[in-house]
Symmetry: C2
Subunit: 421 residues, 2 copies
């Protein structure tokens, strides 16, 4: 598509989304839930259509030689399609944060103040691979009264188009305002730049993906960005740790699902216990076929370990690879985590409350844990009911983002004619 065409089509989508916000704000919670359930029903009704679209995406990617991990992310199938419909119904069942009074007080001059949750407005969502993000993001943004412009990856275009059509055409007869949910129908990269520059229409942009995507959005964006970026997550085993607990937490974080952002990438171990712990862990990790990259102490006591480079300490492997470093104690561990980590999720295993408190206080990460797996950094595990992702930013939303984080607020002030002067 030509460059002016891309720009004008993106701008048109923006103007339509902005216009839809005025109608979205009129819907009450029950109306929104009826619409969400109609969307879920339509996804089920169009099962064969959506699966056929997904099959054509898969076919194209197999011709291009996509990796099996990528193919797995892209593939739907009847079970995952049913999970998509159920997830929309789950969002309908959640409490509506819009209109919630967050704070309320009266000033000495009699002014009554309320701080109330409201929709953000128009949200742009830029993502890769998994087609379920289309429906998850659309449902969560709609539940919070936001209009959404979705821009998925080229590899999933047919699947995303089929899902978005089901949401729109299922929702509209039930009262979904037209243009509340729009999918960018082309995947030219330039479209991302135009979306990111369109601050007259977009209130927020959420990029969820790899370094190149995030960089592109951050460089172009004129509106707030909430990045869902990488997790270089640590387990720090303090000398007072219970070895079995530490091993359990490490295996859970590294081996069960290595391809997710809250998986463990680096293990830090106090030098006082390093030898014993490495020997025990080497045996326990053996069946999981994890490649270990470590410092000299690690290589001496962990059979098969290779040398870690400086780069390893800052790398999100998303794979069965673990970097391991021997540290002098809590201060060194904290300095390593704040220096090389990605401020995502970090855990300390220790019997010492004092060490845990220092770790809590000084580790500058979204979620800091004591004696628990990094895998608990997740909206569902936090009890948020659903999440749009895990923010790696520090402003507005940090860590798991649920419905409340998809809202802004405003102040409503009631007076009886008060003036300032």
């Amino acid at each position: 598509m030509s460059s002016p065409d891309i720009e004008s089509r993106i701008l048109e989508m923006g103007a339509r989304a902005r216009a839809a916000t005025r109608r979205l704000v009129q819907l009450d919670s029950e109306q929104k839930n009826v619409i969400l359930r109609a969307m879920a029903a339509e996804v089920r009704a169009r099962r064969s259509e959506i699966l056929a679209a997904n099959e054509s995406d898969l076919q194209q990617q197999q011709n291009r030689g996509l990796s099996s991990a990528m193919t797995d992310r892209l593939r739907l199938g009847p079970e995952r399609l049913e999970a998509i419909a159920t997830a929309i119904e789950d969002v309908a069942a959640l409490p509506d944060p819009v209109g919630e009074v967050i704070a309320e007080w009266t000033r000495p001059n009699g002014l009554h103040m309320r701080k109330v949750r409201v929709p953000i407005g128009v949200i742009g969502m830029i993502y890769e691979s998994r087609p379920n993000v289309t429906s998850d993001a659309a449902a969560l943004c709609f539940k919070t009264g936001n209009a959404t412009i979705l821009r998925g990856g080229s590899e999933a275009l047919a699947s995303n188009t089929a899902i978005a059509a089901a949401l729109q055409q299922g929702g509209e007869p039930a009262g979904l305002p037209p243009d509340s949910i729009q999918l960018v129908p082309f995947t030219d990269r330039e479209g991302i730049d135009h979306l990111a520059r369109m601050d007259q229409y977009l209130d927020l942009i959420i990029p969820r993906g790899g370094k190149a995507l995030i960089e592109r959005v951050v460089a172009a964006a004129r509106m707030p960005v909430l990045k869902h970026y990488q997790g270089v997550c640590h387990v720090y085993v303090h000398e007072d740790a219970d070895f079995d607990m530490a091993a359990r937490i490490l295996i859970d974080g590294k081996c069960r699902k290595p391809g997710v952002c809250n998986a463990v990438e680096t293990l830090l171990v106090d030098s006082a216990i390093a030898t014993a712990f490495y020997q025990e862990m080497a045996g326990l990790l053996e069946p999981h076929r994890v490649e270990v990259r470590g410092d000299e102490t690690v290589r001496e006591h962990w059979p098969g370990a290779v040398a870690a480079t400086e780069e390893d300490w800052a790398t999100e492997y998303l794979d069965l690879i673990l970097s391991v470093k021997t540290v002098a104690g809590p201060d060194a561990a904290i300095a390593h985590i704040n220096g090389y980590g990605s401020h995502h999720t970090d855990t300390v295993v220790t019997g010492s409350k004092e060490v845990a408190d220092a770790f809590f206080h000084e580790v500058d990460s979204a979620v800091v844990l004591w004696n628990a797996s990094t895998r608990f950094n997740d909206g569902g595990e936090f009890g948020f009911g659903a999440e749009i992702g895990i923010s790696t930013d520090k402003l507005h939303a940090r860590g798991p983002m649920g419905l409340a984080e998809l809202c802004s607020y405003k102040y409503l002030v009631t007076g009886e004619g008060q003036v300032k002067a």
Copy 2:
């Protein structure tokens, strides 16, 4: 200064600020308050030095023919200098939001979750004119454990340099970590671009000023921006309004201090009462010498009113000028405010709760008022104790920003060895 020099000096300031954050997080509330009081004492001790620096700024600007309003903003004098010192002591007296537990709960699996306020990290503050912003911003950011890089306007460079030196050299003997408060010692515009691109060191940038400044920061910024931008604020007089109350609110908002962002720029009046209201207001506003720009109905009934152009409806005059429009009723008023306003502060004057509720619900502004002056959009009036400004953004902080809004949060999770799988 040469372009590479500007960039390298800004980068060096960023690296130093980042390093300071680690020491800032170690200070407890009492230590911070001691340091703040030492800063205030040093501002008082250097009174003649700071006033002399201010005098040299004023002299330079008078040679350049600065407007009298600008000169007034720039001028300090003994009273304003004392107010600067007192404001720092007021910040010391406020409760410390850092460490506050915002939420706390236990999950069914026994994990105990705490959501705790923490510093944001490094904050860049870009502002114009008033030298008191240097000390206000530095004190508020320091109280919340943030390192600050201040970049004031060229017209106030000598004043800002003298104030920043008092804060640094007064604070450091009392325990202020070096590089916690830095002032950019040159005012080349390019410095703004380098600050805004430096996302490896800056967590947030707050521009406070006019359109050109805001545009420059938004275009360059790679980190979150909280804009303190213009207020095109409205008073809407509904047909059920008490005329005396409406007049009082209008005069308070338009005439007392027209140069501030929460002053009124546009009056909207229901057509059913327009004739009578305009005739009454014309008499009441006469002694205030306000220029009125209105539609045809206005010009018929308001002696001296001139024609308003389309541009008037979106203009922040910051002056004794008022645009006036006759509307059919609440829907038209709300559509006008959402369409032409700046989502800052808007008030409805009415005896009808139903109309006020619709106005509250549908006007998309940071602060929406019923029967009260727009001038109440102010951190002090909200009871926040102090404010760094009024955010015109919708993410993170909207409306008056106090100490809590200068914080991020993190989640602290305590377990007993829980794993997910």
